[in-house]
């Protein structure tokens, strides 16, 4: 009696597989196109970061740190940390990881900000999107790898696809909140002077929501970084893959170096993007 009756089974797995199959067959061209676009953007960023020599890149990051975070000591720390990555022999892999992060953030913002704006302008859409976003954020990150693998096979593109999906909720959410919390009187003032709803959006709502949107960008970027590392499980080359290899070969020291490099990237990206949200 302790066995659940075999005759009662809901074949959800079969249904989902069926849907996926249908999607794969019927939307093949569509997924090919998306894969093509993502790949090209990755390659462009990769070429860019690998083209810039380290002795220019490091001072450049130092300058950004000084300019945006606002302290010389921070700029110097950033530069020393990057030198450390170089000394581990992970410069090239770091640049690859960075280009993956930047590509996924690029797409996340491209898709996420307009969705946040739409969500802010419609209560109905908000009530539909909110539970979806909540669900997305509680889902374990590697779950996204499975459909990504099915659509795109192994490699960078599925890793990117999964990363974009995983990292997009914060920017949507915070764009929505930022726009919704703009002072109603300010919007009324703009309307009273004859502004159209487009003018209100671009001249009032988005500028005033900017700090909030920037916090969203910061969070999205951090999530993208963590997912890019996980994405190495399906073949995205970068620091994450080094950690994975080190685990397989039980090379604790190597894994540690790669891990530290990831943490360094995370700190630098976080500090710089976070500083944007503080600017007027």
């Amino acid at each position: 009696m302790s066995n659940f009756p075999n005759s009662f089974s809901i074949p959800l797995d079969k249904w989902i597989d069926g849907i996926m199959e249908w999607l794969l067959i019927n939307l093949e061209v569509f997924f090919d196109f998306i894969g093509f676009v993502i790949l090209n953007v990755i390659v462009t960023f990769e070429n860019l970061f690998l083209f810039i020599p380290w002795f220019i890149f490091i001072p450049l990051v130092g300058f950004l740190g000084w300019k945006f975070v606002g302290k010389k000591s921070i700029a110097i720390t950033f530069m020393l940390m990057l030198l450390l990555i170089g000394s581990f022999g992970y410069w090239e892999l770091s640049m690859k990881t960075l280009s993956l992060v930047i590509t996924s953030v690029f797409f996340s913002l491209l898709i996420g900000i307009p969705h946040g704006v739409l969500m802010a302008r419609s209560d109905k859409l908000e009530s539909i999107m909110k539970p979806i976003l909540d669900g997305m954020q509680t889902m374990p990150s590697f779950v996204y790898l499975i459909p990504a693998l099915m659509f795109f096979g192994m490699g960078k593109v599925p890793a990117m696809f999964a990363t974009i999906i995983y990292a997009i909720p914060p920017v949507i959410r915070l764009t929505n909140i930022g726009i919704r919390t703009v002072d109603k009187e300010v919007i009324e003032a703009a309307l009273a002077y004859g502004a159209s709803s487009k003018q209100v959006l671009f001249d009032v709502q988005i500028p005033l929501a900017k700090p909030s949107i920037m916090v969203g960008i910061n969070q999205t970027t951090m999530m993208a970084l963590s997912m890019v590392v996980i994405g190495s499980m399906i073949g995205a080359k970068g620091l994450g893959m080094e950690v994975l290899l080190a685990i397989n070969r039980i090379e604790v020291g190597k894994g540690f170096e790669a891990g530290i490099s990831i943490v360094i990237l995370a700190i630098i990206i976080d500090r710089i993007t976070f500083s944007f949200s503080k600017k007027r």
């Binding site: 309307l191 009273a192 004859g194 502004a195 001249d203 005033l208 007027r280």
Partner: protein, 401 residues
């Protein structure tokens, strides 16, 4: 006939689902609370009818939630009326499409908000030029006009500061400058000075009055502060639960409150700040015409048992006062005099018809004698005595119960 700038007819605003269904005959008589219970809808405005003249300083007054802001927002159609007509500059704005409304707002209105409604990410000059930018003017045109109005409101030198660095009073000056920059026909002001401290508030009120004298805009001004209303308004409309309960000149409102709600409002109005000489003056028992001669004057004085009286000339212009003994002396010395000679007419203080009682205290304090009231052409209109003055400064609530 004064030119009408705004005519509002049978305006209703109901907030809630499907508001038109609420406007059925059997609902129209219900109070706000009854209607809320029956239909779930909130009455914003209930059958508003009013006319505002060009150049008028019109006050909307009432307790919080009485519908003042809603009425103001209907006029610029930030809130869409449920039914009724609003005609502005002979155009019915309730019939306009959205695009027409946008254009109409740009040309017609300037609006000032309680919390200023400024854009924190723009400098003072860009805030002031905001309406002009929306109108599509070039940066040069915008800035030259903006600089001009910034000067008008006394903010020169602050053009490139951000609103966040300015005091409340200064921020509201930016708000007013922004409204003036468009050169609108109508200024809408929603409790613009409520958030300011009393001294700044008074200063801004004085400046607004001055500005109005100069620019002759039509102003619709929302306030819940009676003294502000009385000080600024040409006319005051009092709202209660979305209905107008009384419309009148300031002195009509305080002297003749129509119901208990208005009475409650004007209870602690200080009449000295509202009533003018013209409202309270009395006619003198004797008025002496200088050309009638000393003998007639003397007879008139004696017949009314007076020792002294006001004198006017042929045009009824106020000259001063004469007393009995001076008249007697003249009659003795120059029995043939046909006119009262200037030398015996003594000067006497006078005030104008629109002088507030408040401003007469210091005159009366110096010399507690009856004073003359004259109009803008120096014509004698009446007199005010210390008795009259004191009778009229008892708080208004006092003699209504």
């Amino acid at each position: 006939m004064e030119e009408k700038q705004i005519v509002i007819k049978e305006l209703w605003k109901i907030f809630g689902k499907d508001p038109k269904r609420v406007l059925k005959n059997d609902n129209l008589g219900l109070t706000k609370t009854e209607l809320k219970e029956k239909t779930g809808c909130v009455v914003g405005l209930k059958n508003i009818n009013l006319e505002i003249n060009k150049g008028e300083f019109y006050i909307l007054m009432g307790l919080s939630g009485s519908g003042k802001s809603t009425l103001l927002r209907n006029i610029i159609r930030l809130v869409k009326p449920t039914s009724g007509d609003i005609v502005i500059n002979n155009k019915n704005i309730t019939k306009m499409t959205n695009d027409e409304i946008l254009e109409f707002r740009k040309d017609t209105f300037g609006m000032v908000f309680q919390h200023y409604g400024l854009l924190p990410h723009l400098t003072v000059i860009d805030n002031v030029a905001f309406g002009l930018k929306i109108k599509g003017l070039s940066k040069e045109e915008r800035y030259s006009k903006a600089l001009e109005v910034i000067k008008t409101v006394g903010l020169s030198g602050w053009e490139y500061n951000y609103p966040g660095n300015l005091s409340g009073g200064m921020q509201q000056r930016v708000g007013i400058a922004r409204a003036l920059a468009n050169d609108p026909d109508i200024l809408l002001m929603d409790e613009p000075f409520s958030g300011l401290d009393p001294l700044i508030k008074r200063e801004m009120q004085d400046e607004l009055v001055e500005l109005q004298d100069r620019l002759k805009k039509t102003i619709i001004f929302v306030t819940h502060d009676l003294h502000e209303a009385l000080k600024l308004g040409d006319r005051i409309a009092i709202l209660k639960d979305g209905e107008i309960v009384q419309i009148g000149k300031p002195e009509e409102i305080v002297t003749n409150p129509e119901d208990s709600y208005v009475k409650e409002f004007v209870k602690d109005a200080s009449p000295a700040k509202v009533l003018t000489a013209g409202c309270v003056m009395e006619q003198p028992d004797v008025l002496i015409y200088s050309w009638e001669g000393p003998r007639t004057a003397l007879t008139m004085l004696r017949s009314s048992n007076r020792k002294i009286a006001f004198v006017v000339n042929k045009h009824k212009e106020f000259l001063g006062v004469v007393n009995e003994s001076a008249l007697l002396k003249i009659i003795d010395n120059e029995p043939s005099a046909t006119n009262i000679p200037k030398e015996i007419i003594k000067p006497r203080a006078f005030v104008h018809l629109d002088t507030l009682l408040e401003d007469m205290f210091h005159i009366m304090a110096k010399e507690p004698l009856p004073i003359a009231v004259i109009d803008e052409n120096n014509k004698f209109k009446g007199k005010i005595t210390t008795d009259i003055l004191f009778e009229n400064i008892i708080p208004l609530g006092g003699h209504n119960e």
